[in-house]
């Protein structure tokens, strides 16, 4: 794979290093730059990455084959040869474009949003930190999508997990309403830990890949798939299922989706960028990238698509019962991710990526617009508070839809943009969501009927809850004073939204389907584009039955939502009209089917009990108190005092030394008897000696 001349492949490292440069500049000099400068640096860094991605896309259009740009050596141990190389192929460039494009727009929006948010929360100095983290995220996401091996992908995977943690817990000392609390930091922890469970699956999959295939590098792995599939098919099943665990964590599928709704604690640009448009799509990217591994085993594919469909349906039911504007969107994201995972599971990789792109457009739009609405409510709140002179002591939730109403008049631009986004999400012809969702439904209809029906119901609910949201937020009379005083957002925020709205409308052109046998020029763009990497895919054809049914259901859903929420707009303090008719079902929907409570009971409490047991009983009571004090300290004391001191030293050595002394005394006392002072005794002794000597001489 050589770099063709005249093309821009060698620029690819810049997609990572421009954001890095941006964050370094902001870190080093941010203190002295103003807010505008910080925002400009960060947005230019992201924008630069987008420009480079465009250049790469252009280069690929000329030279569509995959180009690998080696960058640095990393690990070379034994048979493990792992390098940092950038992979420029059609799939990764699509991801790069989406991430950097939507990312740049969000950066620009965030300049305006954070300007107000840091003032509402009371810490202006934190502005810079936000953009440092945001640039870091772009860099990490770029590493993820441009990696040439599973390990590089994992580096980015972990990196975006870290940035998610940092950004969710941005206001770490308070909760979403600004009160001092652990709520935000707990949400960040929850995200990180739940992701970790997924990462565990991913890492095991990576290890098995290395063990079975001998390499982490994509090309080398995919080349050996037929051989391994023939020899040991269970290896591939294990790898793919473990990867799905990772996907469930990162892309919020059942059972690891619980972190995403809590992640709404972060500022809205974070929710838009990370938890709607880009990070959560990393799991989908992983499956699409590993297409050769997944395509081999049909049971795995069925499982993945059922998982995605189940998640889509499940999350949609919860979304219909939420009151917080961002929570509705969060569950909607989980649901749409379920669509994407189902598509990837079915083998409709192009459809999955298509939906990924269009979803990025309209979900980012919806989130950012929701942020605009929340800020509008905050502005109204402050306006009121200052005007009436009361303190901010009262707790007011600007995100609660029950406090809104009639914002269509106060925030016109936000209203129209939100409407476009909602219609795109609901899948109304001819907005972008229609085309991408339709392609998924088509593939399901053809190959997996169960999945098709589940997704259709989910689509029905999607349209329903979006309609509900629109009626509750924008129509009717303002239900609180604050809503009555809401103010529109400044242009720095609304202009990026307009760009996103345009993309949401026109996004369908990315992969236009064949309509009634007519293939318009520019159709199947994405299919052809991705075909270079993923191989030939079925060209999407507009099936009237599928398209008609989905449109019908969507319109029906909107009608129902109007019947319930729009015809007779909600009054102040009125309970949700669905509460009585649906009764316990609605109760479950409202309370997210008590999943978090179940996890608390099943996993977290036992875990805490075990750790407390280990800490108190095992560590302190047993280890410290008993073992250390009794066994070790006691044993040591026994050895030193009893054994050594008493026995060895006193009774042994001392006794011996003393015995020597007393023995000598006794001996000398015995011998002193000889010295009786009598001369005659001495004379006797003398004579004895003489005789002895004489005798000796005699006998010699």
């Amino acid at each position: 794979m050589e770099t063709a001349s005249g093309l821009f492949f060698s620029l690819v490292p810049l997609i990572v290093f421009l954001p890095v440069l941006g964050l370094l500049i902001n870190m080093a000099f941010g203190g002295r730059m103003g807010e505008k400068a910080i925002g400009a640096v960060a947005s230019l860094a992201a924008g630069g990455a987008f420009v480079v991605s465009l250049l790469l896309a252009y280069s690929l259009s000329v030279h569509p084959e995959t180009v690998i740009v080696p960058f640095a050596e990393w690990i070379h141990i034994g048979t493990l040869q792992l390098d940092w190389a950038f992979r420029v192929d059609t799939l990764s460039v699509v991801m790069m474009l989406v991430v950097s494009g939507v990312g740049t727009l969000i950066h620009i929006y965030a300049v305006g949003y954070m300007h107000e948010d840091v003032r509402f929360k009371g810490d202006e100095k934190r502005f810079r930190r936000f953009f440092v983290f945001l640039n870091l995220f772009i860099a990490m996401m770029m590493i993820l999508v441009s990696g040439d091996s599973y390990m590089m992908l994992f580096v980015g995977w972990e990196g975006v997990g870290l940035c998610s943690f940092l950004l969710i817990g941005f206001w770490y000392e308070m909760d979403t309403l600004g009160r001092p609390s652990f709520a935000n930091s707990n949400a960040a922890k929850k995200a990180f830990i739940t992701n970790r469970v997924g990462d565990f699956g991913f890492i095991l999959a990576a290890f098995i890949i290395f063990w079975a295939f001998g390499s982490f590098q994509f090309d080398e792995v995919f080349a050996k798939v037929p051989e391994i599939a023939h020899a040991a098919p269970w290896v591939i099943v294990a790898v793919t299922l473990l990867m799905v665990v990772g996907v469930a964590g990162k892309s919020a599928q059942i059972p690891l989706f619980v972190w995403l709704p809590d992640a709404m604690a972060g500022p809205t640009p974070v929710s838009a960028l990370i938890h709607a448009a880009t990070m959560v799509t990393a799991g989908v990217y992983l499956i699409v990238r590993s297409a050769p591994l997944f395509s081999v085993n049909h049971s795995v594919q069925f499982f993945v698509s059922m998982l995605g469909a189940a998640t889509a349906l499940f999350a949609a039911t919860i979304a219909a019962g939420q009151y917080d504007i961002k929570k509705v969107l969060a569950y909607s994201t989980i649901s749409q991710l379920g669509f994407m995972v189902a598509a990837a599971g079915m083998g409709a990789y192009v459809a999955a990526i298509f939906h990924l792109a269009t979803h990025a457009f309209f979900k980012a739009l919806l989130f950012l617009d929701a942020g605009s609405i929340i800020l509008g409510m905050e502005r109204g709140h402050h306006h009121l508070a200052h005007g009436h002179g009361d303190s901010h002591g009262e707790v007011f939730d600007p995100g609660d839809m029950r406090n809104m109403g009639g914002l269509r008049e106060k925030m016109k631009v936000s209203y129209w943009l939100y409407l476009i986004g909602a219609l795109a999400l609901a899948g109304i012809f001819p907005l972008a969501g229609f085309w991408s969702k339709d392609e998924i439904l088509l593939d399901a209809y053809k190959h997996y009927p169960t999945v098709y029906w589940m997704l259709t119901v989910a689509a029905f609910l999607t349209a329903f809850y979006m309609g509900r949201q629109i009626w509750m937020v924008f129509f009717g009379k303002p239900r609180t004073e604050v809503a009555a005083h809401a103010e529109e957002s400044p242009r720095i925020m609304t202009v990026p939204l307009m760009v996103l709205a345009t993309l949401s409308v026109l996004g369908g052109l990315l992969n236009m389907a064949t309509i009634l046998g007519f293939t318009l020029p520019g159709s199947h763009l994405l299919t052809e584009w991705l075909g270079h990497t993923l191989g030939e895919a079925e060209a999407g054809e507009l099936n009237l039955i599928v398209a008609g049914l989905s449109t019908l259901f969507a319109l029906l859903a909107i009608y129902f939502s109007w019947l319930i929420y729009g015809k007779k707009p909600l009054a102040t303090g009125q309970l949700d009209p669905l509460k009585k008719p649906l009764g316990p079902v609605f109760f479950g929907m409202e309370h997210k089917w008590f999943i978090d409570e179940a996890y608390q009971f099943l996993f977290i409490n036992p875990y805490r009990a075990i750790s407390r047991f280990l800490a108190d009983k095992v560590d302190w009571a047993f280890w410290h108190d008993w073992f250390h004090d009794t066994v070790i300290a006691g044993g040591y004391n026994w050895i030193s005092q009893v054994l050594l001191n008493e026995y060895a030293d006193q009774r042994g050595i001392d006794a011996f030394a003393n015995a020597l002394g007393s023995g000598t005394k006794r001996l000398s006392a015995m011998m002193r008897v000889w010295q009786n002072g009598f001369v005659r005794t001495y004379a006797l002794t003398l004579l004895v000696g003489v005789i002895a000597i004489l005798g000796y001489l005699l006998l010699k």
Binding site: R672, W674, N676, G677, F678, V679, R680, L684, L687
Partner: protein, 100 residues
């Protein structure tokens, strides 16, 4: 001619008796006299041997022994007198100040 060995036997007997006297008697003076007896026995042996070897060295030696004995007696008796002055007795058994 009396064989030389007879003289030696007599000398031996005298020597043993003198030794016994040193051990048995408690009177310091008598002990001293026993010592003189032992010396005398030695002298006799000397002279006997001188006769046997037909030299005069033995006799000359006896001469010296006698001289030394005289000196020794003088000093020894002076000592005994001095001791008598302090202890007022010449009982050897009473002179046990060196008792350990």
């Amino acid at each position: 001619m009396v064989p030389v060995s007879y003289y030696l036997v007599v000398s031996a007997i005298m020597f043993s008796i003198g030794a016994m006297g040193v051990l048995i008697r408690r009177n310091a003076l008598v002990v001293f006299m026993s010592v003189e007896l032992m010396l005398n026995a030695g002298n006799l042996a000397f002279v006997a041997f001188a006769r046997m070897h037909n030299t005069f060295s033995g006799q000359l030696f006896v001469f010296f022994v006698m001289t030394v004995a005289a000196a020794e007696v003088a000093v020894g008796l002076a000592l005994i007198v001095t001791i008598f002055r302090t202890k007022n007795s010449i009982n050897l058994d009473q002179m046990n100040s060196l008792k350990g």
